[in-house]
Amino acid sequence: MQLIRPDININFVGMRYKAFMLSGAIILFGLLTLFARGGLKMGVDFAGGTLIQVKFNKPTNPDEIRNALQGIVAHAVVQQIGSKNDNEYLVRTDAIHEELGSLSNQVAEKLSSSYGPGQQVLRVEMVGPKVGHDLRQKALYAIFYALLLIAIYISGRFEFKWTSSLIMGGVLIVGIYLLEAIGLSAVYLIGGALFVTLVLCWFLKLPYALGALLSLVHDILITIGIFALVNKEFSLEVFAALLTLSGYSLNDTIIVYDRIRENRNKDKKVKFSDMINGAINQTLSRTVLTSMTVFFVILCLFLFGGTVIHDFSFAMLIGVVTGSYSSVFVASPILIAYEDLKKKKLPKPAARRAVVQAGDAQPVRNPKKSKKKQPAGQGDAGKSVRG
């Protein structure tokens, strides 16, 4: 059985400008919503506060619940979760109970008196400001280290420029210490780290790393934007989902890059963008299949996994889709754009030879690269781009 014809040749590269616009629109929309709402709705893990999940034994609605709790909690946000018949609600408030008295017990009592006995408190999460701050710090450091490791790994693995990548790592670490010393808040730190990384990729001539990182940023921005749009809470689990889908998105990007690298060595006469298109089409079968299977599994989690990991699976669903999308429409076009920009910068014969040599990122210099990448068993057939 075949889902994708082996000789498929969709012009993905040609569509890239439309794709840029689509991505741009979604991201812009998401960011606007983000600003309009004043930032992401932070869960108790990061913002501090109390979250109580209650199961009622008769139908009710958020307003009634809020009224019932009026005395104890001034400012509660109540939300229904699960299916209609579950009668489960999430009560969220900024109040915390530091003394070992109990907000949750008071809430349980109040609800019993308003609704009668039998209302169950299923779960309580209370995070004080100190721990909230700790978790925020941890999350930001996690992002930073993930970025660092990923940038180093890709540069080294794909461009065999381990030295460059280690330099980049070193500069990043130093840069971050400096920024931290200035006392910038952690969000700016991450933004700064990202910016520094991308600039370094440019200057150290690491287009693959550049493409991979940009597609990563693209995925994260879209996911965050959609979360802002549907006003879901950003909790520690969602953050974990974000990090995981970064890994997955890279996974996908690497598959395509791998094929590009392989093709680059085989046929030097082919135009760069055609070769990239070919690589994408060749890996299309695998990309579609894997995305489908992972999407299916996560969909099962989303539908049947219960309320607690609902938001987590939602984030991962978005991530799987954008992960594949970005490998095709963000990472690869960036390679092409980089090539074009390089060509414009070097209007010399050397550059023209570079074009003919089917898009070696390094015009004349490294012949040994091609030798390294000649895999065994690929001998024959000047295989042209599948078409």
């Binding site: 689990e237 992972v294 299916f296 599994v297 607690v308 990991i309």
Partner: protein, 529 residues
């Protein structure tokens, strides 16, 4: 290339080990004799079995303040013993002690006395004022640090003892950096009771009720010197709190209590009371106290609230006392445990609390497993339909993969959380990816006209590099999550990492064995792929 036989043997051995590791998890009847070598069954996280997770902070500062207060009393006693006159000895600021001597005469005696008996107190300033010679004593840093560490250690012990008596199956109580204590109590039916118990400071004091104070004086707060108003717990639930004037000096404290028991009956039938037993020293003090003060009321003050103030009818020589009052059985039980295990050296504050009721925990397990099962089943079917027999081979590898993940977790003692189950589900999805990569490559090679054997060779070769590359990035994400994540998120990182590692083994090594077997031994001419 290693022979098929050796490779198959290796895999079989691993399989058997894996199955054995999982026996405790899936069967409740333990096999005699084996239970020592086999690992325990898989630990379930709090989000799956229900329970409480608490991060407490000991207010160590208060402990140092309390210590300073004790030193004030001790200094006064020492000065009286050495016949050094003093006008004032009092705690000021956080934990400094201010001393005013009537004149500079005995200054040197005073300094010597402090140096010998209270070496950790240093006179920071000495000045002559109209009131006399005023000294400010400060505690040295080492002492305050010691006091803090001791406070945290004591709090840890007290909490441990209380939870022990409360009866929790596998409590986990650990100190953490920054005066913090981590408490995890799995499978608790009534979390609120446990929380109440942990936090009770349980400072028990006996004080005499001030005599001859009229209600009007209480109302106007004009009390005789040495007396102070204390709130009193209402005798039944409906009346409001009242205030009682007590003499400040504590005549007996809870440190002499050896036992505290809950009993039924007492003033009102059916209400619980707590009977206390004192140790010999306490009994003697109590004897003295009661014989000197017959007819006066003795207030029993717990955590600054008067619980009852019975009249001392007669001398009590045998060192027992009863605290009566209207509380429920649970309240009395909690109180009794708190009194038995002694007071907390300093108040304890909750920084983080996560409670999951057992109902939700069981639900989560059910849902998580069901979702994963449906997902897994769907994929298994799909693989067989799409890749035919090779798909079946991949499915076998998938099943083995899951087995290895669970076995590894049992072996290492890792904890399975709800996100961990999601991680296993995710691994199922990604596991298939590896096989897809290999099979697509094989299909490509076959289309080019290669023989099955050559196609399989090339397919595995090219694909392996790509699989490794791709899995490394997911592993990086999992590693970072493990390092910086907490509880449930850590569980997710663990299952994801183990899953990816196991996946590389099963998808590449194990399936290859089967292909090789079919192609060489069975001399298969065509691949069903």
């Amino acid at each position: 290339m290693k022979s098929i036989g050796i490779r198959a043997l290796l895999v079989s051995v691993l399989l058997v080990i894996g199955i054995f590791c999982l026996i405790p998890t899936f069967s409740s009847s333990p096999l005699p004799g084996l239970s020592n070598i086999l690992p325990e069954k898989i630990h379930l996280g709090l989000d799956l079995q229900g329970g409480i997770h608490l991060v407490l902070e000991v207010e160590a500062d208060k402990a140092v303040e309390n210590a300073a207060e004790t030193y004030v009393e001790q200094i006064k006693d020492a000065l009286r013993a050495k016949k050094i006159g003093f006008t004032k000895v009092v705690r000021t600021g956080a934990w400094d002690i201010e001393v005013i001597l009537p004149s500079g005469e005995q200054l040197n005696e005073f300094n010597d006395s402090i140096k010998s008996d209270f070496s950790w107190l240093k006179p920071a300033t000495t000045e002559t004022t109209p009131e006399g010679t005023r000294l400010l004593l400060t505690m040295d840093l080492k002492k305050t640090n010691d006091l803090r560490t001791m406070a945290v250690g004591q709090a840890l012990e007290t909490i441990r003892n209380r939870i022990d008596q409360f009866g929790v199956r596998e409590p986990d109580i650990r100190p953490e950096a920054g005066d913090r204590i981590l408490v995890e109590l799995p499978g608790i039916k009534d979390p609120q009771e446990a929380i109440n118990l942990i936090g009770k400071t349980a400072v028990l004091e006996f004080k005499l009720v001030a005599q001859n104070v009229t209600d009007q004086e209480i109302h106007d707060n004009k009390l005789p010197p040495g007396a102070k108003l204390y709130p009193m717990r209402p005798s039944d639930r409906n009346s409001s709190e009242t205030k009682v004037p007590l003499e400040e000096k504590t005549v007996l404290t809870g440190q002499y209590i050896t036992d505290a028991r809950v009993g039924i009956g007492g003033r009102s039938f059916g209400e619980a009371h707590i009977s206390l037993n004192f140790d010999p020293q306490g009994a003697k003090l109590f004897d003295h106290l009661t014989s000197e003060n017959v007819g006066r009321k003795l207030a029993i003050v717990l955590d600054g609230v008067v619980y009852s103030d019975p009249v001392i009818k007669e001398r009590i020589p045998n060192g027992t006392a009863v605290i009566e009052g209207s509380y429920t059985d649970e309240e009395a039980k909690v109180l009794a445990i708190a009194l038995r295990t002694g007071r907390l050296p300093a108040p304890v504050k909750i920084l983080e609390q996560r409670t999951v009721g057992p109902a939700l925990g069981a639900d989560s397990i059910k849902n998580g497993i069901m979702a994963s099962a449906i997902g897994g089943l769907g994929i298994i079917l799909f693989m067989v339909v799409y890749y035919r027999f090779s798909g079946a081979i991949a499915d076998m590898a998938l099943a083995m993969n899951i087995l290895f993940i669970l076995a590894a977790m049992a072996l290492v003692g890792a904890t399975l959380t709800l996100p961990g189950i999601a991680g296993i589900a995710l691994t199922i999805g990604i596991a298939v990816d590896a096989n897809v990569l290999i099979y697509e490559r094989i299909r490509e090679e076959l289309r080019l006209g290669k023989t099955p054997r050559a196609a399989v060779d090339t397919g595995y070769q090219r694909a392996t590099i790509t699989i490794m590359d791709a899995n490394v990035t997911s592993l990086i994400a999992a590693l970072v999550l493990y390092q910086f994540g907490t509880g449930p998120v850590k569980g997710f990182a663990v299952t994801l990492s183990v899953g990816l590692a196991a996946n590389m083994f099963t998808a590449i090594f194990v399936t290859r064995i089967i292909f090789d077997y079919l192609l060489t031994e069975r001399r298969l001419k065509e691949l069903s792929i």
